[in-house]
Amino acid sequence: MRRFGACLAAAALSVTAVTAMSTQEVQAQEKELTLCWAAWDPANALAQLGKDFTAETGIAMNYEFVPWTNFADRFINELNSGGKLCDLLIGDSQWIGGSATYGHYIKLNDFFEKEGISMDDFAPATVHAYSTWPKGTPNYWALPAMGDALGWVYRKDWFARPELREEFKAKYGHELEVPKNWTEVKHIGEFFQGREIDGKKVYGLGIYTERGSEGITMGVTAAMYSWGFEYENPDKPYDMPGYVNSPHAAEALEFYKSLYDCCTPPGHSDAYMVANLDAYKSGQVAMQMNWFAFFPGIAKDEDVGGDKSGFFVNPSQKVAASTLGGQGISVVAYSDKKDMALEYIKWFAKSDVQKKWWSLGGYSCHVDVLNDPNFPNTAPFAADFLKAMDGVKDFWQEPTYAELLQSMQKRVHDYVVADQGTAQEALDKLVVDWTEVFEDDGKL
């Protein structure tokens, strides 16, 4: 009987222990969040930063980082299917229209008000681009998380060589310096194309030409914005003829094609961020366009970092403007852990967290960081980042953005890379495509 009693006690103890362990596990599982973003340098910085949040709140952070090539496909499908994978999502600025309209993100106005988070604490351009829908209205669906714009990097060490400078000036009549406009970009591209430097054949430019996601659109619009491109009549929304296909938009597109034809390395026909980075870091090109987000990595790179590289803002042609990158952080409406996700947003909005975010390599949008008088000196590209963010322009942020983007990808790739038709024809067709999209959406 005593033996039976001992067995019973042992069994009871085991059951209690197992139950206690399961409860702990469940609690631990409940006290965790999944944040979804793209797999790139700033994501690693965010994971580093997230350790502070876990230490402060006891909420563990999981991350789902997806390569840029699949980023939109993966997460837009996740949102459309009402998936619960992501509690927090750092989604592209263009997704905000669709995500707000179809209820994928929760609206943050009441939460901001309750927690005393003011949008005045963030740079106005970033609030407009990453947080609001409808555009420009005080309806907030995200907190500006990662400011970004398209900029340029050049081989400072090559530009400093006296024999090259002399030859360049004799040929083009101006110094081999940071280009002031797109014409000078082309001069530099042509000058370095096929040249031998340190016994190695190099090429002029790494520009965006990618077909599958958004690459060539982001590159082409960098030129078009500098030529004063407008998506629509400022006084009549969705009125596109004469704007999208204006003569100066066609001129900019034609110019971009001429850059592709004259100055890119062989095989640069489907290149986006990583391809440009690879071409630049391997010493293949003299200049590359890329997002500011990559610049901390370039500045620290063993081969091209330090004094070897310089940075500059997207050059103007008729106006100063840059293609907008970057994202806001949103709480996914389908998450079961919205309260904890909001707790993360509250923490992330703090001034000291934002300062650390910048120090780790993330681009804070907080005014305490950006308006700090010392900010331009904190990194070799910091001053240019501020300049770029002053003149950013974004692609459509409409709920139908994916259709609008795919049409543009096709039309401009057909012209720039596949040499089909003229720039004017490409933009005329784009107007037809976009008109059809807006008609289907009931906006025209």
Binding site: I76, P265, G267, H268, E403
Partner: protein, 316 residues
Amino acid sequence: MTDRPSDSLTDRVARATPGVVVQKVRGLSDTAIAWLFISPTILLLLAINIFPLIWTVYLSFTNYRANRPGRPIEWVGTRNYERLLGSEDIWGYLQATAHFVVWTMVIQVVIGLSLALLINRNFKGASFWTTVILIPMMLSPAVVGTFWTYLYQPQTGIFSYIINLFVAVGPVDMIGSVDLAPWSIIIVDTWMWTPYIMLLCLAGLRSIPEYLYEAAEIDRANAWQKFWYITLPRIMPFLMLAVLFRGIENFKMFDMVVELTSGGPGSITEVASINLKREAFEKWRTGYSSAFAVILFVTVFGLGNIYVKALNKVKQ
């Protein structure tokens, strides 16, 4: 109740079946029992094949978008079909698909048949070479597409290097060139799937009775006559079957081309299925893409039927 050693499995199952079930089954005809057995399969087929097909046809007449669940579905009649058939771009995608299908079939049949004739000679090491030739077919198309992008790399890829060994033309940009890109996907598909054609041809060759060749020898037929009057007619059904399978597969080709060219440059290699995926899952024009899917299905089904009739004639 022990099993008798002479009992078959059927006898043992029959004895183990409860009496109530036996009573019920005894009341059923053979046809009813047959239906009872095949009905789960039929239900499954209806659920996963027939219903989606009918649903797709229905959606093709609507403006439905899968990413907007709340939006009312409107009947738009034949508008999606009119848009599709009137679109210059769609004809371009179909043209790219036809170019890919026709050329891959022609080249693969020629090379596949030649390889089969070679392997059929049973030379020393024939089995080893057969295995080696079959390897590409065993790889995943996505993997094949990805590693061929490296082989095609104009500056560091081996493809450009080999061409320059023969003709000094500088870096050859197979994927980025408008003229070469359609051939770049044909080359990779040929590399991957010729072994399949070879395998079926080999099966055909091995089924030809030896006495036919002996009779031809007696009639003093030359090698070409033996090939033309004996080999080719005998392996034709196998060859046509291989072309049917590969033709249907290549008409639907997606993964390898996406990895290799993403449909570019421009839309030069944008075969129909890539565009279909873009319309359905990137632009979310579900109604429109359903209409496109129906058109593709009817095309494949129609061509397939004509081909199968021809195949039956050849067999006869």
